[in-house]
Symmetry: C2
Subunit: 184 residues, 2 copies
């Protein structure tokens, strides 16, 4: 059942709304605040540069809120400012490349959040080695603690190397595709 031409704007609006909502959920998953995600969703799906007023009107949120969240998006590198000649307003535009967006966020979160965790974990392990506590290290209860920390550290270190390779360029994605298509 085809949509008549007159209904197209309504349909597009509805699809955009669905997408913005979806992107909001996606954002929650990545630890991104709802409004930030919605704004980015709107910029991404619309594919054009929008002004603060456009966004305020479309998403029904206040000027201050839009301003703050746009700055954060620019900081993350997901959105960039665009100046139009003969217009004092600033416009904002999303990155278009999805993979680039993913790696951008993944790399920053890894650096800010995962790396410190790994550092702490290593310190925990080092405090439980024979070098640190002598013969006690081999006996309970220290032995179990050490074992658990070490197990975790091994896995996280591995995942870390993997993600490093996977996220650092388009190459990682290509390798993954090959792995997926070769066997199976």
């Amino acid at each position: 059942m085809k949509t008549r031409a007159a209904d197209l704007p309504k349909l597009l609006e509805s699809v955009e709304d669905q997408f913005v909502e979806l992107w909001n959920n996606m954002g929650t998953l990545w630890g991104i605040s709802p409004t930030m995600a919605r704004i980015h969703g709107l910029l991404y799906i619309s594919g054009s540069a929008l002004s603060m007023d456009d966004i305020m009107a479309r998403l029904a949120i206040s000027r201050g809120n839009v301003s703050m969240n746009l700055s954060k998006l620019v900081e993350w590198g997901l959105v960039r400012r665009v100046h139009k000649k003969a217009d004092r307003k600033e416009y904002y535009e999303s990155l278009a490349d999805v993979w680039e967006m993913f790696t951008l966020v993944a790399n920053q979160r890894k650096r800010r959040e995962i790396d410190p965790i790994l550092t702490t974990l290593r310190r925990c392990r080092d405090e439980l080695t024979p070098e640190a506590i002598g013969g006690q290290a081999m006996k309970e209860p220290a032995r179990t603690r050490f074992q658990r920390v070490d197990d975790l550290l091994k896995l996280l270190t591995l995942l870390d190397s993997l993600s490093q390779r996977f996220f650092e360029s388009h190459k990682g994605l290509r390798e993954a595709v090959e792995m997926l298509t070769s066997e199976d």
Copy 2:
């Protein structure tokens, strides 16, 4: 500088505290509530079955809170109840296998959160195809919208297949290790 035997309990306690705090941060990253993460951290690092009272005392949180969060942990499958004979109390014990814990959480979150997103995304795409809106599909502004949704869907579908393979068994991990060690 080795620790004297008398200081060992203090040291262990400190390491455990650091670990619990670390696991709390890790949990935030996975969208798991702080207390739930801390309880699980304690159970994991201690490597033994603890009672509600043990946990309340060690983490200084209320009985109700411990109870609720333990149920959720059991629900997730990260913790299991243990009955000790001649004791009415219930004890709780964490899974020991780190990889198993990861896959458990990853699979459940995928099912609950990612799959619905993919469904919505497909619906968005389908509403923008030529089948749905005719010739308009090839012209702006519908064309861009379709393109963007389709790009995203392609990548997410790929990541989905990848993670499926990666997380469904120990095999995924082994493959990844091979990939990492073979070339580079």
